[in-house]
């Protein structure tokens, strides 16, 4: 969907929430709106200059990214104006473009693996996975088209439950914009998940 960005300003800097005052334990992703399934208006501000004797009420500049088609379909799903440490409005626009999610997403998550049922090689591989690892997850579905779906995702979290007789690992992969290497004679052209090295 087309993405448009414009530069905006709002009033006094002091009227916005300072991210420093939010306790770390309850700190959300500050760009998350109330309904995070769709984010079609993103507001990324850059830190305002310090007040001077002549300008006590400084203004805040921010880049606003909008996906109009998504707004038309789902209504306005807007983030708050979040003050970042970014240097320029161009940097803010790049971040806004990254944060928009014009349509709802789904992915394979909360994947439970029982270590007892794996081979030695598989156990070693699973143990080596860490946050940031790339996973390919394939699931077959009865009475469904397509019958098999594969997703390439990035691992965001891992949990282990270990007792004297078993070790259960739960992986929390999430969608990410990842390309994997195109393999000649194996992969097909026009696959948006493949790229040349």
């Amino acid at each position: 969907m087309p993405f448009a960005v414009s530069n905006q300003t709002i009033g006094a800097a002091g009227t916005l929430e300072d991210s420093f005052v939010i306790p770390t334990t309850s700190r959300p992703n500050q760009f998350t709106p109330l309904n995070p399934s769709v984010v079609n208006v993103v507001n990324v501000a850059i830190a305002p200059p310090a007040p001077t004797a002549g300008t006590l009420a400084t203004t805040i500049e921010y880049a606003q990214g909008i996906v109009s088609e998504s707004v038309a379909e789902y209504g306005v799903q807007e983030t708050p104006v979040v003050i970042t440490l970014l240097a320029t409005l161009e940097d803010a626009a790049l971040l806004a473009e990254y944060l928009v999610r014009p349509v709802p997403a789904f992915w394979f998550g909360n994947i439970q693996i029982i270590m007892n049922g794996l081979t030695d090689a598989q156990r070693t591989l699973v143990s080596s996975l860490d946050i940031g690892s790339q996973l390919s997850v394939t699931k077959s579905f009865p009475n469904s088209t397509p019958s098999t779906v594969t997703q390439i995702m990035a691992l965001e979290g891992i949990s282990h439950d270990i007792t004297p007789d078993r070790h259960i690992i739960t992986l929390y992969p999430n969608p990410a914009t990842i390309y994997t290497y195109f393999i000649l004679d194996t992969d097909e052209l026009d696959d948006v998940t493949k790229a040349l090295a």
Binding site: S19, F20, T24, P28, N29, Q30, S37, A50, T84, L85, L86, A87, T88, D91, L95, Y98, P104, A105, F106, W107, F108, G109, N110, I113, I114, M115, G117, L118, T124, L125, V126, S127, S128, D130, I131, G132, S133, Q134, S136, V137, T138, S140, I152, L155, E156, G157, I158, S159, H160, I162, P164, D165, R166, H167, Y172, N174, T177, Y179, T180, Y181
Partner: protein
């Protein structure tokens, strides 16, 4: 001693009894004296293998949903210990883990904990809470809650410095250096950031973790501590070309099989 779980591997749970006994403490009349050889910086670790007494381990690292959960949350581990001979008791002066110098159990707040499988660490951190529960007449159950080193960054204030335009990873490196943490070789794994930061003043009232997360708010990458205790920072992924580390499937073959999963609709 390490414990073997059938068809899983050999597991070890270790708790540090040593560092709390000889750690140098500033301004302390005994432990803070310079030019002596007993009390040293960070203390000398003395890892005690307590695996045989542990009946359950739970480890949580990272986040479940990047659209809803913040990154940079300290990883946690919980140990459930069946303390049949009261060696983990908070009141047993005859415990082999009793610290006679301090007059209390050697395992306490900030004592190190590490958990490994076949030599690969699944968690490295410190004790944040230690609870002993007695079920009458005399069954002792000990619960040890742990967090990784990100937790400690909550307790250190950001040192002021003059911010200059630079990438997010460079700024994080400066903040960590000023705090004197993750300073050993290999303890910082910082990916090259995409976010160009400006010269907004650094707020000294923020904790180190708060300021790092504010930097990451501009990057929207990831911040975490790995199972060995090393600090990681990843940039946001924008069309990255990466190889797949592991393949999971329910269709057989060499791919890793899984038992359950959810289709998450955000």
């Amino acid at each position: 001693m390490a414990v073997s779980i059938p068809n899983c591997g050999t597991y070890t749970v270790e708790m540090d009894y040593g560092a709390s006994t000889n750690a140098f403490r500033l301004d302390d009349a005994v432990a803070g004296v310079l030019d002596q050889s007993v009390y040293v910086l960070e203390g000398t670790t003395d890892w005690q293998d307590v695996t045989a007494y542990v009946k359950q381990v739970s480890i949580n690292r990272g986040r479940q949903n990047r659209f809803r959960d913040p990154t940079g949350q300290p990883s946690t581990a919980t140990l459930q210990i069946e303390d049949s001979d009261y060696r983990f008791s908070l009141v047993n002066e005859g415990s082999p883990y009793w610290n006679t110098a301090k007059g209390r159990l050697g395992f306490e707040l900030n004592s190190g904990v590490r958990i490994s499988r076949n030599g690969t660490y699944l968690f490295t951190g410190i004790i944040t809470q230690y609870d002993q529960r007695i079920e009458n007449p005399s069954r002792s159950l000990v619960t040890v809650n742990c967090s990784d080193a990100l937790f400690s960054l909550n307790n250190a204030k950001t040192t002021y410095f003059t911010a200059t335009p630079e990438r997010s990873d460079t700024r994080i490196n400066t903040v960590l250096s000023n705090a004197g943490v993750f300073s050993k070789p290999g303890q910082r794994v910082l990916a090259t950031g995409l976010a160009n930061l400006g010269n907004a003043p650094v707020d000294e009232t923020a904790s180190v973790l708060e300021y790092i997360l504010r930097i990451n708010n501009s990057e929207q990458g990831r911040v975490w501590v790995d199972g060995s205790g090393n600090f990681h920072f990843d940039r946001r992924l924008v069309g990255e070309l990466q190889s797949v580390d592991a393949s999971l499937s329910d269709t057989g073959g060499t791919a890793i099989p899984y038992t359950t999963f959810d289709i998450v609709s955000n």
